[in-house]
């Protein structure tokens, strides 16, 4: 494996990235967070591993929006394993390689065990947290997209809409301008980008 990471998810919403081994893994998780598709999303939703041994030439193409940027980052094979304890799902483990090829039986078994151990570890850490708070150990090195949520709060105030609607506007702007959501959020928080008017025109400050 070239890299790995763990995403936490709830319902159909990724919470974000718990940890990653390298920038490409971080990108893989960021893409899945923004696009809502990818091997981790599938593994979490289906409750079983989602395996793509050759992202450039898949047997059945899926992840239309995810594939191109992932390939551009050097991902050639990618595998998602659900993080679960019993029938409870927490998220998913993602593993990627910079060359195509399937997991051999040993690697598959190891990955399944890793996912199980990771799930147990996350819950064990959370068990030690103060009630109502996230365990400190889980926050270190994690990226739960706080900038996106801060930006949503700001845009909600700018447009006098709900944060849910603000988030949709942010995503639409990112998609329409072919920019990552995280970058758009950062600009909003840095006050380089504002949303205003009922006709929804954006007004970038010079």
């Amino acid at each position: 494996m070239t890299g790995a990471g763990i995403m936490l998810m709830e319902g159909d919403v990724p919470h974000g990235s718990l940890c990653t081994t390298d920038d490409v893994s971080a990108l893989i998780e960021q893409l899945q967070y923004e696009l809502g598709e990818g091997p981790c999303v599938d593994a979490y939703e289906l409750g079983r591993p989602a395996l793509e041994p050759d992202l450039a030439d898949p047997v059945s193409p899926r992840w239309i929006a995810f594939t191109r940027p992932a390939l551009a980052a050097g991902v050639r094979a990618i595998f998602g394993f659900p993080l679960r304890v019993g029938f409870v799902q927490l998220g998913a483990l993602n593993l990627y390689r910079d060359r195509p090829g399937p997991l051999d039986p040993d690697q598959y078994a190891d990955a399944s065990v890793m996912a199980d151990v990771a799930a147990q570890a996350v819950l064990l850490l959370q068990a030690g947290a103060l009630p109502g708070t996230l365990a400190v150990e889980l926050e270190t090195g994690a990226d739960f997209q706080y900038a996106v949520h801060q930006a949503a709060g700001m845009v909600a105030a700018q447009l006098e809409v709900t944060v849910g609607q603000a988030l949709i506007r942010l995503r639409a702007y990112a998609f329409g301008n072919d920019r990552p959501l995280a970058g758009v959020a950062k600009d909003v928080v840095a006050r380089k980008l504002r949303f205003n008017g009922t006709d929804g025109e954006e007004d970038p400050r010079p």
């Binding site: 919470h15 819950l123 947290a129 996230l134 700001m154 700018q158």
Partner: protein, 246 residues
Amino acid sequence: MTRETLLARTLVELADTLVADFDVVDLLTRLADSCVDVLDVRAAGLMLAAPDGALRVMASSSEAMRVLELFEVQAQEGPCLDCYRSGQPVIEADLATHASRWPRFVPEALAAGFRSVHALPMRLRGTIIGALNLFHIDPHAMGPADVGAAQALADVATIAILQHRAASEAQLLTEQLNNALNSRIVIEQAKGMVAERLGVNMADAFHRLRHHARNHNERLADIAARVIAGELAASALDVPRTPGSA
């Protein structure tokens, strides 16, 4: 149906309990009834330890059995209790001639018509969760095959209960994890909203929210939720005396 077939079927039924709508009392009631069918005992009962370690009567195959087990727990004396405490099988083939073993329990058992008892531990390696009590109306010791079958039934039930507890705990922890993450998200959103409305940076927005929460003895996440919902205006938040304090 042969006894072996009945035993095998019972084991499978007991094992098939790793489902979301698992009910412990239901499982143990079926176990008690199965013991009477499969093992040719007169009565069976199960006790499980509560979180504080005290045994509770969970299931009995007959009313007489239930009354007797309740007595055992109340008197804190009897084969089921000894079995739970030691984690080992406790067998008495003839209660009538061994009354001194449990001076208060034995007369009650005899009065209920029971002459012999086998108590088997519900345990998985080092974890003892309770005990299975089996009673006969004749003085006799169960043969090794019967004891083995009884222990197998108890073991399967034990595993099912422990698995379910682990899964329930995992579910609870996951809910706590997600609640914590969601609270955090709401706080970040509120920071953005306050920063925008008051024209301050994120750090000051955070201090404002936290100061207000402390002043009003409320949770930060609750204040944040009210700001997001439009119930609490950013301008209505208490102002810290020195910027960045509170």
